[in-house]
């Protein structure tokens, strides 16, 4: 286990324990103010877990909206609706062995659904996590996210600057194999915006300078950057090559086998495998909200407006005629 894996494990368990302790505090505390602060612990731990799952924007939004907005509202409601002396008895719960048993049964059912409890081992989640195998002749190719275990669909997005490519070579072709080279080429057709649209010509520049700038931009786009990564073949059938330091772009990749007596041509399955690298989830979320989810986004804006008006209407003072 590498040290970074150890840190991730440790962080998960620290924040998971904090979240569970906070949730139990919310459920069990006799004091409603304590419940509210236990909820604070849960919300912060959830934000940390989002960050652990590389959802940086979600983590920030969680802290801003939940902790900064909703929790403050809840504490306001507690302050407005209870005399301070009542606080200790304000959070009575119906003594509920029945509710407790029902919730335990629910938890048990959920865990049985999630985990392969009768026979631990490979389970239904592994199928969704495994990479899809792309074949070409005797070779098979897969691509993984940076953790080297979670698959990356062909054409899928990754939110880190590393991707792992697995190349499976049959026994008879592995003799005398020295290196496996993976070449990742930035695909300018798939990059979201070309440099020409990114750099609008400055109106103050002379036409000559504008032309030069456009030519420069076209040159950069026309020459896609390609990166090569090599790995020595592993003892097992499949060799993993880690593509590091990728820029934010769409990539196609091909594989070359270098042996003692020569090189193979560039090989890869039909319709080259490819992936898109994003730096963090913020920009993809913005693009998704602006395109496929635009209608839902507008509907939510109407809902927020209605909630605003409704809350103001409900909370206003009665005017007696």
């Amino acid at each position: 286990m590498t040290s970074s894996e150890m840190v991730v494990n440790l962080l998960f368990y620290v924040f998971a324990v904090a979240a569970v302790a906070g949730a139990l505090g919310v459920a069990a505390s006799r004091n409603i103010v304590r419940s509210a602060f236990a909820l604070l612990a849960v919300l912060f731990s959830a934000a940390a877990l989002y960050a652990l799952m590389k959802a940086d924007f979600i983590a920030a939004a969680q802290v801003l909206i939940y902790v900064g907005g909703i929790l403050v509202l809840i504490i306001f409601a507690v302050m407005l609706t209870h005399r301070i002396t009542d606080v200790n008895v304000s959070n009575e719960s119906t003594p509920g062995p029945a509710a407790f048993c029902a919730v335990l049964c629910l938890l048990f059912a959920l865990v049985v659904i999630i985990l392969p409890l009768p026979q631990p081992g490979p389970n239904k989640w592994d199928a969704g996590r495994a990479p899809e195998t792309m074949r070409e002749g005797p070779y098979a190719f897969v691509q993984y996210q940076a953790d080297g275990k979670t698959g990356l669909a062909n054409g899928g997005s990754t939110f880190e600057n590393e991707v792992v490519v697995g190349v499976t070579i049959p026994e008879d072709r592995r003799a005398g194999l020295l290196r496996i080279v993976v070449r990742a080429v930035e695909n300018p057709g798939k990059v979201k915006e070309s440099l020409e649209t990114k750099k609008a010509p400055d109106a103050t520049l002379s036409p000559e300078k504008v032309r030069l700038a456009q030519e420069e931009a076209r040159k950069t786009v026309a020459e896609p950057k390609s990166l090569e990564f090599a790995a020595t073949p592993e003892k097992t059938e499949t060799t993993h090559v880690r593509l590091k330091g990728l820029r934010e772009a769409a990539y196609d990749w091909k594989v070359k086998l270098v042996g003692a007596e020569g090189e193979s041509p560039w090989i890869g399955p039909k319709g080259d495998p490819n992936f898109v690298v994003h730096k963090g989830v913020t920009e993809p979320i913005a693009l998704a909200l602006a395109d496929p989810y635009l209608l839902a986004f507008e509907a939510v804006s109407m809902l927020l407006l209605a909630a605003l008006v409704g809350a103001a209407f409900l909370a206003r003072k009665e005017v007696k005629e």
Binding site: M1, V8, N9, F12, Y13, V20, A23, L24, V26, A27, I32, L39, V42, L43, A46, L49, M53, A55, I58, A61, Q62, I65, Y66, G69, I70, L73, I74, A77, T81, N91, E92, S93, T94, G96, A99, F100, A102, V103, L110, V111, I114, W125, R129, A130, E132, D147, T150, G151, G156, V281, I285, A288, Y293, A296, V300, L304, A307, G310, A311, L314
Partner: protein, 106 residues
């Protein structure tokens, strides 16, 4: 059992625990503000599931994260309206116990 070997299962079990704590809070409390806290716990459990499936499956992409944004916005709207209702109940009844606000029956 290491988290990095089976991250999806770990996150799902964690969110199941949070969900059950939230359901227990909703079932047993009389105080409307406490029930609201239970609802927030349940919503958070759902959010953790969305992000986990988005991150730890092959065809994850960004869609799970977008849904979390929508759930956050809905939770904010719901909290604002619910707390306005709670203040209204408090002004009328002097308490916010949900079993006392039963005037609609009469």
């Amino acid at each position: 059992m290491k988290f990095t070997d089976h991250p999806l299962e770990h996150m799902l079990v964690l969110s199941a625990i949070l969900f059950c704590a939230g359901v227990y809070t909703i079932l047993t409390r009389k105080n409307a503000v406490s029930i609201l806290m239970g609802v927030e716990l349940v919503l958070n459990a759902a959010n953790i599931n969305f992000v986990a499936f988005s991150q730890y499956t092959r065809i994850g992409g960004i869609h799970g994260n977008v849904f979390v944004i929508f759930v956050l916005l809905l939770a904010a709207a719901e909290a604002a309206v619910a707390l306005a209702i709670i203040i209204g109940i408090y002004q009328n009844f002097g308490r916010v116990d949900v079993d006392q606000a039963d005037q609609m029956k009469d």
